[in-house]
Symmetry: D3
Subunit: 237 residues, 6 copies
Amino acid sequence: MRPSGRDLDSLRNISIEPNVTKHAEGSCLITIGDTRVICTASLEDRTPPFLRNTGLGWVTAEYGMLPRSTNTRMRRESASGKQQGRTIEIQRLIGRSLRACVDRSALGERQITIDCDVIQADGGTRCAAITGGWVALRLAVNKLLKAGDIVSDPVTDYLAAVSCGIYAGQPVLDLDYAEDSSAGVDGNFILLGSGRLVEVQMSAEGATFSRTEMDKLMDLAEKGVSELVAAQKAAII
Amino acid sequence: MRPSGRDLDSLRNISIEPNVTKHAEGSCLITIGDTRVICTASLEDRTPPFLRNTGLGWVTAEYGMLPRSTNTRMRRESASGKQQGRTIEIQRLIGRSLRACVDRSALGERQITIDCDVIQADGGTRCAAITGGWVALRLAVNKLLKAGDIVSDPVTDYLAAVSCGIYAGQPVLDLDYAEDSSAGVDGNFILLGSGRLVEVQMSAEGATFSRTEMDKLMDLAEKGVSELVAAQKAAII
Amino acid sequence: MRPSGRDLDSLRNISIEPNVTKHAEGSCLITIGDTRVICTASLEDRTPPFLRNTGLGWVTAEYGMLPRSTNTRMRRESASGKQQGRTIEIQRLIGRSLRACVDRSALGERQITIDCDVIQADGGTRCAAITGGWVALRLAVNKLLKAGDIVSDPVTDYLAAVSCGIYAGQPVLDLDYAEDSSAGVDGNFILLGSGRLVEVQMSAEGATFSRTEMDKLMDLAEKGVSELVAAQKAAII
Amino acid sequence: MRPSGRDLDSLRNISIEPNVTKHAEGSCLITIGDTRVICTASLEDRTPPFLRNTGLGWVTAEYGMLPRSTNTRMRRESASGKQQGRTIEIQRLIGRSLRACVDRSALGERQITIDCDVIQADGGTRCAAITGGWVALRLAVNKLLKAGDIVSDPVTDYLAAVSCGIYAGQPVLDLDYAEDSSAGVDGNFILLGSGRLVEVQMSAEGATFSRTEMDKLMDLAEKGVSELVAAQKAAII
Amino acid sequence: MRPSGRDLDSLRNISIEPNVTKHAEGSCLITIGDTRVICTASLEDRTPPFLRNTGLGWVTAEYGMLPRSTNTRMRRESASGKQQGRTIEIQRLIGRSLRACVDRSALGERQITIDCDVIQADGGTRCAAITGGWVALRLAVNKLLKAGDIVSDPVTDYLAAVSCGIYAGQPVLDLDYAEDSSAGVDGNFILLGSGRLVEVQMSAEGATFSRTEMDKLMDLAEKGVSELVAAQKAAII
Amino acid sequence: MRPSGRDLDSLRNISIEPNVTKHAEGSCLITIGDTRVICTASLEDRTPPFLRNTGLGWVTAEYGMLPRSTNTRMRRESASGKQQGRTIEIQRLIGRSLRACVDRSALGERQITIDCDVIQADGGTRCAAITGGWVALRLAVNKLLKAGDIVSDPVTDYLAAVSCGIYAGQPVLDLDYAEDSSAGVDGNFILLGSGRLVEVQMSAEGATFSRTEMDKLMDLAEKGVSELVAAQKAAII
């Protein structure tokens, strides 16, 4: 029934290739089906002004898409002079989510910026960015631990994200672009490795939804995130 | 236990004053506790380019705060030359939500712009904007129906929004600013009059949450929205 | 002869409601006929860089219109990314005028920002903003005096503004929108309570004018401002 | 008493050199003391959208200062990405004033853009720009008349501008920078050749003023403008 | 003598991987040493306004760097709201160069946009972008030819670019970052497959240069471009 | 053969008028044929942040064109809110070139900003700006030397620029607008008084070029620059 032939509760193929750039403190290329995102973590020994002298660190994120990562070329945001609302919403979500698994006191007065740049888009780019962004963050923090710059690990758990939605009347896991563009309900679910919830966003796009449907989407999300966390574990060994 | 002394499942006082400006096709001043938002609906006989010749209408929203609607003066967004990420996120949410209760084919090739301007802020401004925005929309559409410009009512149901969160470890309804600024989990729930869900956003701010807690927040939201819908009904008579 | 039926030298109805917001140090809602403006005064314990260590304070103003304060919806300036020339001109005028009744040395190194936001426009918004802005300023300074933060009153006089113009060949006081949009000459007059002049701006819009006409407009302005000052006195008791 | 040794009612030396650029339809270099402004008139066979098919023409103006036209280098406005409030105010004033001596129906559906660029500033640049801008306009219209593109002269009168102010307690004509920067009251007066008033702007800068003083400034302005008009006449022969 | 141990006239390792994205009409990943650039060609059936109804097509280019493509994270240009001067200069160069090998009449009224996004930077990114951009262009045009949309091949020759400079007093080919950042003279050379010159830019950065040195750099450039063209030929088979 | 009747290797008439503004530390009006550029040098006792406490000075440049310096009025860059790519490219070139003849250590921690504003354009504005910019720089540095603020002359040589190109199949010196707009190859050559090369830019515009042609253009450039340097010497006596 799904355009890809997948089962209702199947993720697309996942690949997480760590350390793909020589400059960043942590990085990976995450591939979820045909969606590919380069995630890098950049470390700075300073924090935003509102955190000066608090002993707390900061994790923030930026998101972008190459102009031809999509089927039709998009206008380059640097050329148009501003980021679209969608871009701003996504990068705020990535940063907020990643901070939920970071002990900012253990990190100390440092900032880690996670850049997530979509090389090829086929649905689910924000979830791929969060899942891959966590890997880049993990690798950059590992470098700090190894160098002895910090002693206590500030990353408190795994964290991954998946989209679920109601496609052709059925709750399905991990929407690709073909599904996403015609889904009646679309949700993003961000969970810790422990299964606790970090962020839940469900949105009617044409059709509204019932609490029962919401519960089914949550079930799918829990299954999906546990598989993504397994892929993260495999990647950072 | 709550700073305001309210019960865990109590809304603040609600007032919806309709027709507060002489220019707009529909308008109201919505007051939820100390939060006050002017909502206006402006009707135009044209739609955005992507809808030309489709027979479909459009509903969109813009959100703003007066610089001193808040405790500390905020910079005026027109002076800084751009809208903040938070503003963009909120106005996209308002527009998307309102479209969920509109039959855009019955509306025809018209655009209704809902402007929500916060006069005084004390938490929950986006939810007040949606609840009041619906009233402005309803009144503007009534004018179209009365004038015979459209024959079938494009507004398919009531729609209201409420925030719930976990404050001091307890799920509570309708966070005011004192609660919002220290809540561990914060959610916005947008429902139709029928009880069906339009948008659910839950976000960890310091603490993560369990599915059981998520369910309790949903229960509170259903209670709150039903009371807000009653206030809408009273206001538009 | 006037669309409103007023005498040539009659102001519209005036109402000044003080203390309309709980956050601002001073505020009022000023209503002149159908023109309504919220004025707030925000106090900060710092001045612009060019005044550091001079012992002098600063008073500045910002002006905005809600998008649907006008008959046809205007584009939101924060969305278009810049303030229009008219906005900039008006807020510079408001700030410059208010500084004419302030002893900046008595104020000390503080800044007071007057925000004037037009809720509903029907002509004369800049004059209403100045007249109401003075009330907000007065109330904020009263708070400083009462708290003992300053000992000598920096507000040296009342200050109010009124428009006059030549409508249908006749000099008239306090133009409303119907008059303003077809007046041949339009002027704004800002005076102290003492009657001394702070700012005079007269502008031909289609017809030029003689010195005799200029004198008649000045006479009307003196009458109008004295009535506005009386309303200010009543409001701040 | 004046820093320059001039009489209270003396203008600085005036020079108006016409046709200074080979590209513009009309142009001049106006020199008032040490203030030098290049004024050009550019003719286009189209009007702004709001005038299409009305048979009316448009005259508009833009104003700029070379970064080092002033004593201390100013930031280039194209580099900072926006025009200052002062610039916007001045160019709106120039355009509005020039339109007061143009019969836009006789001009037909054409736009004339007056560019006023300050090469060297020593006070009174906006008045020099208006006085020189009129010359550029006159020359461009002469070209249209000569070519037979229009038959009736749309320029209905001479138009010139001068500043007056109260310096060291005395009303003086044509403030230079040394006077302007310490004047208590500053005004700009724009008059037709006939002596009728087009725009009057008087502004307290530190000191307020009486109606008697206002009258004296008006007297000076009438004298100054008549001399400037004589210089215009000499220049366009 | 060179930090990399290369001979004075040796290029770094070259790899050109064609067809790396599923959406673009043409694409490649070009790797020159540690410099990696994704180049895509996007085809549109419309041209810029200045070419409408001329029968001529257009080729243009945009250039960007991922924020952490460099050793130290750069600010994202979309976040800062404008492209840097360097970016603008580079993308104008890429577009201008590629147009030199295109018969725009044979292309017809189509636009091809070449996006060059630097994934990892180690010197020579603009040259890699041109060399890889040509491959993307070639592949997109091949698709047009194969589909029969055009009959005559608009790509008239191979085109590639290489940098040469004077490093430690010696003319060297293909500067990497270590060399580039301390070279006294730096040049970019863009040549056709035929050896004819398209663009030559030589720039003193600390040291000036003689005509003899200029000739030696040209010799190196000719050698380097011929090897790059061989790599292009191998890639597009 | 040339539209102006000049010989292939003839410059246009050159005039360099020094000290044309009273405010700038150094200035000139350079006229090359019908191209006229005002160049000013502004001195500041501070450098950009990246040079603080290095003991080194900085020379930078900005370039602008009056809107009607060209045949058709251009949009004012301050009004459009950004500088065009061409403007940015040119001002970077001017600054970079001038730094090639400055010993920044001898200059000390000072910044000199060269503003080049085109009053009338007829081809070759960037070369005129560099040649005139050097004169403004020289005069400003002379003032520093005379005042004893620096003891060793930081200007190490003369520096001038000229354009050459292939027009109607022939290499020609100093293209005017009529030639520039139809030249197949266009180059800018910046040389020291000693004849050493600072910057060479040759660009195909329609036709590519051979090494032999490149050599001929270089020969012409050497002749042209030597004549321009002679004019500089005459101007600064």
